[in-house]
Symmetry: C2
Subunit: 299 residues, 2 copies
């Protein structure tokens, strides 16, 4: 695929500018309470694929959005994601010790600090969307804030975590598994796409719906690939503890469909996501490449 | 004091309308994930003095703000407060089993649910300020959102929790103790006053500063009285475990100043708060009565 070197270049540049924006937008480690601020930076900086920031910028490209504005939106979405990882790794949830190749926050610091780090990262995410312009008019910015909140809360990501907790040790149907993932990881991924798409020139409703469908499909794709990688990869490649799902008796696409059908399902989702983008033509170049990347990633 | 029966009537009506607004603004327990929604309602409904909602309405009265708008703001501030209680009670923090006379969320449900309840209540707080009008123009609403976020995050309430954690077993100076409380409880109390004051007709900067000083003083007053009550009351009266601070070797105003000087300090703070309100005359009737109430409360 000839676009790949260009995509890698674009992806690297977005990852770098996201890192740099997070550096700036998180409180310095020297500011009191310094241990909390240091731990917030430990959790958020220096790692991660930055899939959600890539989606924000990819969708923002489609509407010619101002890149510094996209940086702020990307950081808000990423901080919601990072807060959820920090809390999800805690002993009372997944009890995981490794994340992005480093000890998890409660291991490196302590549980109470991890709890506060997650809390304060969430707060900072909403603060980022409130204390500087990310849309042409404040009313649009409020709508974007509400969108991020809906995607993150009890009827989005946090709700998905609750459904996941309740599912441990249970046999789920494919519909139930999909319902869980549409909330747990899908809601925030969809929000990333839609927030980027709302940061530039206005799109007609049918095009926003198209992007929402794209976001839904790659959210599921992301999870199916995650389950495949968790079943197949080793811990060193993954940068987090591999094989945890099976060990914890959590339902996955692999446990439900088998590895072959899980891979076929991933291909279908990829094809559907790309077809959804077709009417956007060249403007969707990054979103198309991101769908490919999410499908083909090995970590 | 002749105003007291009127104040009790007003206070009861605000507490009732806050309860009713929270009932409406929290997701129904029947909506999936139902266990999470049930636990969110368990944490937030049916208890508490609703000090922050009272402050929102008291300050809102001063600027003739629309009461339903104040209800939404009051609920947002209260949900931030409740989320912090739920997380603060968890085993890795204060490890408390009783709150508002009921088992804490992690005791009644489980730790993972308590973690998610706190997370989702925080999200809902910001959503409330984003998804319906609480100011005349959206730009003011964004500023109010940013104000609540600043007061709640790593440089406000969550930061105060971190300072509190770091202080266990240490001898603090009075200045250090005050710094901790200005963040831990003071920031959100100040925010409650300022958010109420920004929901109606605009106030000049010097009057907003005056209200901010009032908020700062009653925030400290609240904490000094809390420390006195914790040292003197028994668990049944308090509705939470009494004597925890001394047991956990946490610095308090009582341990630092002695009970006599702590009580004298409370009187000074009350007098200063009331003097600050003097120029507002009768418009500050509820804020003045609230300062008295915070000083004289027995639970």
């Amino acid at each position: 695929m000839s676009a790949r070197p260009d995509f890698v270049h674009w992806m690297t540049s977005i990852q770098q500018r996201t890192e740099s924006a997070l550096e700036t937008l998180l409180p310095p480690a020297s500011r009191p309470p310094d241990r909390l601020h240091e731990a917030m930076r430990y959790a958020a900086l220096g790692g991660g694929k930055r899939v959600r920031p890539l989606l924000v910028h990819g969708a923002g490209h489609l509407v010619d959005a101002d890149p510094p504005r996209l940086d702020r939106i990307a950081c808000a979405v990423e901080l919601i994601h990072v807060y959820s990882l920090v809390h999800d790794d805690m002993p009372c949830m997944d009890d995981d010790v490794l994340r992005r190749g480093k000890p998890t926050v409660h291991v490196e610091y302590d549980e109470a600090t991890a709890l506060l780090v997650g809390d304060a990262l969430q707060t900072r995410a909403f603060e980022l969307l409130a204390d500087a312009p990310v849309a042409d008019v404040p009313a649009d910015q409020l709508a974007m804030l509400a969108l991020l909140a809906r995607a993150s809360g009890s009827q989005g990501m946090a709700g998905g975590q609750a459904i996941d907790l309740a599912a441990v040790g249970k046999q789920l149907s494919r519909a139930e598994l999909e319902f869980m993932h549409i909330h747990k990881t899908g809601a925030l991924i969809r929000a990333a796409v839609l927030l980027g798409a709302r940061a530039g020139h206005p799109l007609p409703a049918d095009e926003l719906e198209r992007l929402d469908h794209y976001g839904k499909q790659i959210g599921l794709l992301f999870q199916v690939v995650d389950d495949i990688l968790d079943a197949e990869a080793d811990t060193a490649t993954l940068g987090k503890t591999a094989g945890k799902d099976a060990e914890q008796d959590k339902p996955t696409y692999v446990s439900l469909l088998g590895i072959g059908d899980a891979k076929r399902h991933a291909e279908e989702l990829l094809a559907d996501a790309c077809a959804t983008l077709a009417p956007f033509g060249a403007r969707a170049i990054h979103l198309r490449a991101l769908a490919e990347y999410i499908a083909r990633r090995s970590f």
